[in-house]
């Protein structure tokens, strides 16, 4: 029995790096320090695995599956590469290259979660920080449209609410926690104050707060929040030693979308005239930040990148997977580490079933079920090393704790094989 320490969890954007994984033979027997979701990912990573590559449901060799994938992609006029956020950075880089050599589009799951956050950043910027600054300094923590107990289980303990920091030695007692949301959630129960905002009323409330911070006195209720509560929160924000807003999909995927973030960024920027204030998106998939980061350094753009003209172009809404599929544009797709058939609108998912779709995954999903080519791959962060970027943009090294189940190859290796074959097929043509 071996205990591997300092293991990074490949589940959510928290990238907790203090896991202790117990391994016996090639089996994981325990996952200390892991949250419930993380433990489940580690303990059952071997269950329901896809056993062999398939082409149109028939079991084939890896080489045959790769050949079928390469043929579909090399002959496509408008291929799309999608997913990326739940694998390591080397594989992500291969996805970008695959889109480039096929003249296709590469998009990642940010386009259906924090894409609007990035759009706002491109308009007005963002004042952000690494999570340790929150632990060490923040005495005012605001969760807005986010619910860590459900999605980022150890966030409170490691970063934002209870940890004792350099200038917050009291831990929880040294922080005032506010939760803003459309309904009460487990986060509200932890918070010192819950502010219930009307559905679709975030933009107005943020704008009112910003006005109050600028010195305006709010005299009427906004989005269901009493005027005095808004004025008081603005005062509290200005008087904080250091404050942070952790926002989630409640802000990015509700009415207003990127405009909500735009005004939140403006509020936070305004507060910097008074004190230290920052905001950080609660990124979901453990390496969605890495998908954005790698795609940006290679192409200049974070997602929704089109190579049809040989150089990268960017246009969310046009080159985003949901939109392209809904329009019926792609004539081939390769899905890496994602399950769009389960998460996309029906129209978009249906188009995936109509075109040659290739999927690289560990387990059977709705997407693998509609795919023409399915290639089983190893799990990054459990069976393969690699890099992942935490929600605050800092990267850590993922561990390999066991050998790949059934000796399957990694995303990167399979993508390398496909790229090599696509290049050869393109040369021949």
């Amino acid at each position: 029995m071996a205990v591997i320490t300092d293991v990074v969890c490949p589940f959510c954007g928290c990238l907790c790096d203090d896991l202790e994984i117990t391994v016996e033979g090639n089996e994981i027997k325990g996952a200390k320090n892991a949250c419930a979701i993380s433990r489940s990912k580690f303990m059952s990573h071997g269950e329901n695995r896809i056993r062999t590559p398939t082409v149109k449901g028939k079991e084939v060799s890896l080489e045959k599956a790769v050949e079928a994938a390469a043929k579909a992609l090399a002959s496509a006029k408008r291929p799309i590469v999608y997913g990326l956020s739940s694998t390591e950075c080397d594989a992500i880089a291969r996805c970008v290259e695959l889109a480039e050599i096929t003249g296709g589009v590469v998009d990642n799951t940010a386009s259906v979660c924090h894409g609007p956050t990035i759009l706002a950043l491109q308009q007005v910027g963002e004042s952000k920080t690494s999570l340790g600054e929150v632990k060490n300094r923040a005495d005012l923590v605001i969760f807005w449209g986010s619910n860590p107990p459900a999605a980022h289980i150890r966030h409170f303990v490691r970063y934002s609410v209870t940890p004792r920091g350099l200038y917050v030695p009291e831990g929880r007692k040294g922080r005032y926690v506010v939760h803003v949301d459309v309904r009460e959630t487990p986060t509200s129960r932890v918070a010192d104050q819950f502010i219930k905002v009307d559905h679709g009323g975030d933009f107005e409330l943020l704008l009112a707060l910003r006005a109050a911070v600028r010195g305006a006195k709010i005299t009427e209720d906004i989005s269901g929040v009493p005027a005095e509560e808004i004025n008081a929160l603005a005062k509290r924000m200005k008087e904080a030693k250091m404050g942070i807003v952790f926002f989630g999909l409640g802000l990015t995927q509700s009415d207003g979308r990127h405009m909500n973030i735009d005004v939140a960024v403006g509020l936070v920027a305004e507060l910097n005239h008074h004190t230290k204030f920052v905001l950080t998106p609660m990124r979901g998939h453990y390496n969605v930040a890495g998908a954005n980061t790698v795609t940006t350094w290679q192409t200049g753009y974070p997602y929704a990148v089109d190579f049809a003209r040989g150089y990268p172009r960017y246009n969310p809404g046009e080159y985003t997977a949901v939109d392209m599929l809904a329009k019926g544009e792609p004539d081939a797709a390769i899905i890496v580490a994602s399950d769009p058939a389960a998460t996309f609108p029906a129209n978009s998912a249906k188009h995936l079933a109509r075109i040659p779709t290739i999927t690289l995954d560990q387990k059977v999903t709705p997407t693998t079920m509609l795919s023409d080519v399915v290639i089983p791959v190893a799990t990054a962060g459990i069976e393969v090393e690699g890099t992942a970027y935490r929600m605050d943009g800092f990267s850590l090294r993922l561990s390999k704790v066991v050998e790949p189940h059934g000796g399957v190859k990694s995303d990167r290796e399979v993508l390398d094989m496909i790229i090599e074959r696509v290049k050869a097929l393109k040369e021949d043509a």
Binding site: D6, I118, T129, S130, K276, P312, T387, G393
Partner: protein
């Protein structure tokens, strides 16, 4: 790889006293050699300018800051797209080029080594990932120290030996090459929304001054015998009147005994931004002549220009409070990024305009520094890419240095402030080709302690640039031809391999990444590691063992071992 004979060019190799002699450069096994085989490939360089590959000692090409710049500026990319070719990857250019394009474009100008000037330790892994995607050129990255918790702690305790041990450890952990300092103390105070106003202000909680931080880091740096001096972004950057702080800072490290083999104890970066006189942006004027006068009289200082270019660019520094100030001046979009326990950064797009009086003065200051400082071995050509402007403007900057007419022609189009509030119109000096080779290659390589770079002597790296330019026929009135030739090298040779021909990239090897391994006495190392680990467990959000950059991130790493002077 076949041997190479670069035949008959006019060679400028100031480190070896070669000043435009027509001669051959021979390369075998990636190095400059005395003899090559008879079947060596011949590059006909007759009538052409030949120099060692360019060495840029201050640029922002990899890591979180430049990537934030890329991320926030799709509008920057749209005007400069780069399609894929059979040899090269697709990408984008202009002020925040994608990694591939940055490598290609440096090589196209004949540059073969570029230093990333600011690496936040926690972001070191990211920096190295990007460097590994930056083809052709050799690289290194400078680790940020000036606002690090452990730096401030050991400065406060006045424990030089522990500071030296910490520096050695952090350089190793981040695979860094030099000690970078950005607005010492100011960035820590920015974490409370404040700054420092000068050398003797205090850092909150630590109660130490920028003066103490800089002098102690410089002292430690020299005792460790690191290849490069401290690499310092002074306090008060961008604040009119800051030339005084700059000179005070230089003076503060004057008495320090330099490491063996050099006279310098400090390199002051992008000095243009730190040579402003006046009280505010209305009456700002050049303080360059005062800075130059100090530098001329004091051998312990080197500096680089941070030349301003009239274009739309993206400013990015580890100086959070300055970027906040710049956001307030411009109203442009602003990204701030703080890094726990150690650093921070900010990014703001900026356009230098000819008709803006302050910008015209800034343009003049950079050139004044270059032309008023007499010793070209101590003043280096940079734009602080992309802060003063993209590195792709280097050929233009060189044309300004070499041609008074180029300067005058441009000054005619500019705000008259450049005539009245700088001394540039009265400067007649024009750089020679030998001096250009010095400020872009020989001197930068020397300042970095890269002994095999920046020259073409036997044993030097086989990094050579050949330009379509006959230096014997060139006159300063031909400055546009000069710009054109320098922008597209006839040949760039990297490690003996032709990587650029007639301005087109022909091969994309992955260059080396240099890092410094400074040995710490065993007992001291154990003691300091214990302290560092204890604070790590309490205050960082990544584990102590997950913090150092793993070897996997340095597939082409080159370790440079140094042995310092230790008192215990």
């Amino acid at each position: 790889m076949e041997d190479l004979k670069i035949k008959g060019g006019y060679v400028y190799d100031p480190l070896n006293g070669v000043d435009g002699d027509a001669m051959d450069v021979l390369i075998s096994g990636g190095k400059v050699v005395e003899k090559v085989g008879r079947d060596a490939k011949v590059i006909d360089a007759k009538g052409k300018l030949v120099m060692a590959g360019g060495v840029d000692l201050h640029s922002h090409i990899a890591g979180s800051k430049i990537n934030i710049g890329r991320l926030m500026r799709p509008e920057d990319h749209r005007k400069d797209v780069v399609p894929r070719t059979r040899v090269t990857r697709a990408g984008v250019g202009y002020s925040c080029p994608s990694t591939f394009v940055a490598g290609y474009r440096y090589a196209q100008m004949g540059y073969t080594a570029v230093m990333e000037a600011a690496m936040p330790p926690l972001g070191a892994r990211h920096v190295h990932e990007e460097l590994n995607d930056t083809p052709i050129i050799d690289k290194s990255a400078f680790t940020l120290f000036g606002n690090n918790h452990f730096t401030l702690k050991y400065v406060k305790e006045g424990d030089l030996e522990k500071l030296k041990a910490f520096i050695s450890w952090l350089l190793r952990a981040t695979r860094g090459y030099a000690v970078k300092i950005v607005n010492p103390g100011g960035v820590e105070n920015w974490k409370w929304g404040k700054n420092v106003g000068g050398l003797d202000d205090l850092v909150y909680n630590y109660e130490v001054s920028p003066r103490q931080i800089v002098t102690m880091l410089a002292q430690a740096n020299e005792e460790l015998g690191l290849p490069h001096t401290i690499h310092l972004h002074c306090n008060n950057l961008g604040v009119p009147g800051n030339y005084e702080t700059t000179i005070d800072t230089m003076e503060a490290v004057k008495g320090i005994r330099p490491a063996d083999g050099r006279k310098a104890t400090v390199h002051v970066v992008h000095c243009q931004f730190n040579s402003l006189d006046g009280d505010n942006w209305m009456n700002v004027k050049s303080g360059a002549s005062k800075v130059a006068k100090y530098v001329n009289a004091n051998e312990h200082v080197t500096l680089d220009l941070g030349q301003a270019i009239f274009t739309d660019t993206t400013t990015m520094t580890g100086d959070g409070p300055w970027q906040f100030r710049l956001w307030n001046i411009t109203g442009n979009k602003w990204v701030n990024s703080d890094v726990e326990m150690e650093a921070g950064a900010g990014v703001v797009p900026y356009t230098f305009k000819k008709d803006n009086p302050a910008n015209a003065i800034q343009w003049g200051i950079g050139l004044e520094l270059a032309l008023l400082i007499e010793d070209p071995w101590r003043v280096y050509m940079t734009t602080d890419h992309p802060n003063g402007g993209p590195f792709t403007f280097y050929p233009t900057v060189i044309s300004w240095l070499m041609s008074r007419q180029a300067r005058t022609d441009l000054m005619r189009e500019m705000n008259k402030s450049v005539l009245r509030r700088t001394t540039l119109p009265n400067i007649y000096r024009e750089y020679t080709f030998g001096e250009i080779a010095t400020v872009t290659r020989a001197a930068t390589a020397k300042a970095l302690g890269l002994k095999d770079k920046g020259h073409l002597g036997i044993g030097a790296d086989g990094d050579v640039s050949v330009y379509h330019l006959d230096p014997t026929a060139w006159r300063p009135s031909m400055y546009r031809d000069l710009e054109k030739s320098l922008a597209r090298a006839a040949y760039t040779v990297k490690g003996g391999e032709i990587v650029v021909k007639d301005g087109v990239v022909t091969a994309t090897p992955l260059g080396s990444t240099f890092w410094v391994d400074s040995k710490i006495p065993e007992k001291l190392e154990a003691e300091v590691m214990k302290e560092i680990e204890a604070d790590f467990d309490k205050y960082y959000t990544v584990g102590f063992r997950n913090y150092p950059v793993e070897d996997a991130y340095l597939p082409t790493g080159v370790r440079m071992e140094t042995k310092g002077r230790w008192a215990r």
